[in-house]
Symmetry: D2
Subunit: 341 residues, 4 copies
Amino acid sequence: MTAAATRQDLDRVTAIIEEKGYRPHPIPGAQRVAIGVTGNTEPINPVLFENLPGVLEVISVSHPYKLVGREAKPEDTIVRVGGVGIGGGSFVVIAGPCAVESPERTLAVARAVKEAGAHILRGGAFKPRTSPYSFQGMGKAGLEILAAARRETGLPVVSEAMDEASLELVVEYCDMIQIGARSMQNFPLLRRCGRTSKPVLLKRGMAATVEELLMAAEYILAEGNYNVVLCERGIRTFSDHCRNTLDLAAVLTVQRLSHLPIIIDPSHATGRRHKVIPMARAGAAVGADGVMIEVHQNPGNALSDGVQAVMPAELAQLMAQLPAILPLTGRRLAEMLAIGA
Amino acid sequence: MTAAATRQDLDRVTAIIEEKGYRPHPIPGAQRVAIGVTGNTEPINPVLFENLPGVLEVISVSHPYKLVGREAKPEDTIVRVGGVGIGGGSFVVIAGPCAVESPERTLAVARAVKEAGAHILRGGAFKPRTSPYSFQGMGKAGLEILAAARRETGLPVVSEAMDEASLELVVEYCDMIQIGARSMQNFPLLRRCGRTSKPVLLKRGMAATVEELLMAAEYILAEGNYNVVLCERGIRTFSDHCRNTLDLAAVLTVQRLSHLPIIIDPSHATGRRHKVIPMARAGAAVGADGVMIEVHQNPGNALSDGVQAVMPAELAQLMAQLPAILPLTGRRLAEMLAIGA
Amino acid sequence: MTAAATRQDLDRVTAIIEEKGYRPHPIPGAQRVAIGVTGNTEPINPVLFENLPGVLEVISVSHPYKLVGREAKPEDTIVRVGGVGIGGGSFVVIAGPCAVESPERTLAVARAVKEAGAHILRGGAFKPRTSPYSFQGMGKAGLEILAAARRETGLPVVSEAMDEASLELVVEYCDMIQIGARSMQNFPLLRRCGRTSKPVLLKRGMAATVEELLMAAEYILAEGNYNVVLCERGIRTFSDHCRNTLDLAAVLTVQRLSHLPIIIDPSHATGRRHKVIPMARAGAAVGADGVMIEVHQNPGNALSDGVQAVMPAELAQLMAQLPAILPLTGRRLAEMLAIGA
Amino acid sequence: MTAAATRQDLDRVTAIIEEKGYRPHPIPGAQRVAIGVTGNTEPINPVLFENLPGVLEVISVSHPYKLVGREAKPEDTIVRVGGVGIGGGSFVVIAGPCAVESPERTLAVARAVKEAGAHILRGGAFKPRTSPYSFQGMGKAGLEILAAARRETGLPVVSEAMDEASLELVVEYCDMIQIGARSMQNFPLLRRCGRTSKPVLLKRGMAATVEELLMAAEYILAEGNYNVVLCERGIRTFSDHCRNTLDLAAVLTVQRLSHLPIIIDPSHATGRRHKVIPMARAGAAVGADGVMIEVHQNPGNALSDGVQAVMPAELAQLMAQLPAILPLTGRRLAEMLAIGA
């Protein structure tokens, strides 16, 4: 309430609070009075009060998530993808080409990724592209190539779904569903993910707050699928030297608020090949539960996002450095079990 | 190229350009040499050159859109919705409740909106909500209510589609399809819009550049639907006194680059009732092709976004002020023809 | 407090509040308890509580400004510059070259600006430039040119001060001191402005919140100078089609929170000549108390920021349009009295 | 040029380029012609061409910095502060209280910081505060306390200067001058720093691009002071879970473009105590040349920014972890020599 609010102004506000079935809690201060509200089951519409005489402002103080919050489940969730655990101290490396382009190239990268010691193979078959005239991915044929790469290498695979049709295919062919940054608030798609039996890798939207990321995950959990891994992949800011700005501290915020694992994607966050491995190291040092990295045999020829893909040798160098960093946050490289184990 | 680039460095770069089938154009300067590239049919992968000896940086200079650009079509597009023209000097006012909540309320608002002189009725039946526990809209029943309101008032109606299923219903019941900010880069949905016969109202994403907005429209035009109206509805910035920051100058940028009409949504841009009408006036003054405004009979009771809805009397006040502003940019209020005329 | 907080946790928190001399106000809710705090004379350090057992979060709810707030002074402040009033319904047009470049050019622009009907002449003699190798302004000689232009045209003049030395000169030669966006939080400079007798035009910093802008003004008022005009000149965002993003709704927020007048600067906000006049119209339509516009006789030759300067004919066109817009917000063009009147 | 540009349009543009004393370089493409410009000694005013018939857009392609660039000096600069080297593989830890509050507290923190193994003592005597009513620092008395702490511990000290007067004092009492984020574009102050003999710690502004940071450093170098250490301290974005968003990749961009060392400030970047040490580790892992950390004996009682200060034990833990991380980027902890050595 404003300093000038009258007794009548206060009574009017408390009357409305009670009329709504909530409980008013007046808190007199030296200069003005605040009125707390409890008993509401959903957010209160500020307009109920905002334009009343004597009201200075309406401030919301409670968190809206339930299933994703640490209050609901204090211990870390460990998400299993094939034989790999993510979270709870187990650090995962997901690697592979941005887009699946051909059986030969994909298999070559898959072998190199396996050789380097990564745990999960990534590869896009359905690509969200800014331009309708850019390469949009190989679709089902791409997923078949990924499945073949899994058969040969034993690596579980993750690929992006963009709509109902692609989701069905990704569920059929892959071990994990990726929901991209542009789809983070595609709520019908999130609900559908929540009704599948496959774990979901949910990327933060370019303009999403951490709270919105957690609420997007809540959509999936609310439908019964508790196997969600979050991914910080950079936000859009004025800073123009990289494609996006990796909001690394979001890892710490998520871990404080939620039990879900969170990994980082330094490839999309930077869009610059020479920055990927250093930023992956930074992610490990801050305490992320994993990294996702684009790898290509010959970055100069990639059909999509080649500029940010690293060579297998660079990935191998990262794998060699991780054991020095991970123990500092009580983590270790994920162990690979045979799929089906 | 860097100042220190050798003859050999230049030859290497020009060789690669030619090898790709493009044409190199060396431009010697006082301190360094630049090399222009032409003949490419799609964006050039910067990594082809970026890590070569002697290369300083790779800069892209061409625009990627074709159908939405003024180069393709110099004159303004006029999009017809029911009997209303948008663009080409015709200024449209779209108004109505954020969400369709009941037949009575919706009809009451529709009558008030018609009375105030607005041209198109808006109302959400499928609501994208941050929380899975918030009211998600009435769905098909909501669209039926909108259709009834159209029958009574004669106002064409627009409503948001979020996925394939809701799109089919919106196409069936409404005169215009709204694609919300969160769906601006839902490319499968954009393609589907492009294959319908209904005009599309495409809202700018919270973190989308103007170029990305135009490219999203390009997805729709590329499928054959040329009736797209763009909508600036605020972008996400650090500025925390409003829900979003209305990027009003984007109207001017779009009008310079594209022939498509563009309107503004001051309700979502500000999220504050007392700011809606002033910002709508600003939109008219800058030369937008229309405004979309949330109206409610009793903002305090609205199930969704009530805080930003104005009362019908406020809308009527805006309608009374517009004739003073519109001629300054060579515009006039849209004329209403009978639907079907 | 968290849902799991114990009686002991609450007692610990209230004890600390009391120990600090504040008053605790426990507010029990259905699931958890909140504790209000009053009696503090300055912001409370959240760390006092944040890491205590049972504490969920610490939220601040009071405004920190005193003199600039509407609570301190409900009626609009009218700032007088020469014979011109700014605020309280009086709309001012400030115009002139970005930088003072020569007596001839400056006088020519000053005459054109006067002719067009603008009220105050602007012109930079001390220029904050990103590069040390760019033209930095004519300094004292530039101020002398401005003073000569005032003598001839009768227009009061405003010019930017960057440090103690330039402030002394601006106070000596000009009618109003401009503090640029880069100096908005140059607190020693603000204090010095507060000790002068000249009105101050304070521009919002590129990354400043509205609250920070008001607090910067508070620095000036706190030293005894109550004649401050605020200026929204665009904020830095990801949106890359203009130099900055004009946060037009900030005008409305400032007017609700403060009694100080606020104008907009569409020249720096857009950095694009063809956008300046339309955005100035938008500022008038939203209810700003004035505009500041860069004008040049021959934009192609300007030494600084010429790209955004409009021609005198464009300014004249705006002046002709304003009378249609201003009455919509209860404003009128400022009247010019003879200086000294 | 546009696709529709005529021969005459091209000739007009090239004539203007030549008239200005520059050299035009027409580059014909399949659909349109680009015209390169060289021979200019400063940035070209785009408005010279932008509104000419046939001109599509004007794009700038050259970097404006000279002394700070790697082209001017390929090898890393090592800045010496007291006996400590920063850069060139030597990683520095700067630690101390946000503000100097009393001799006892400052000395206690200084001893703890020395004990933990940090290299340089920080402490603010002149504090830039958003509110004029907040504690503004102890001024000269604070610097005397810092000097006393140096005498006892042997640690060199750094403190912030805000204007000419405080700069003189900082130069007199301290080993390094800090220029804060709010002063990054206080160009008169930068010039004055450039004329001192003390090394400068230059923090990135909240809304500054990397290029603007480098240009600010250029102001200092241009005056003859080559001992500049840059500091990334977080930028302002929409992301609201931390005070700022640490743009960690900027470290890599700076190191690619410039020879100057760059450190990070995780305390101001996050504003959250529990995030400081993890983000400091991330900075080390990415390859920064040092970190600056706020330390307090009793964070709950600090007069300024206590919420983000860590305890000495947390600093000691970081010092113990750094030797595992630094070798991964070819770095080692800085060695401490006796001052004067």
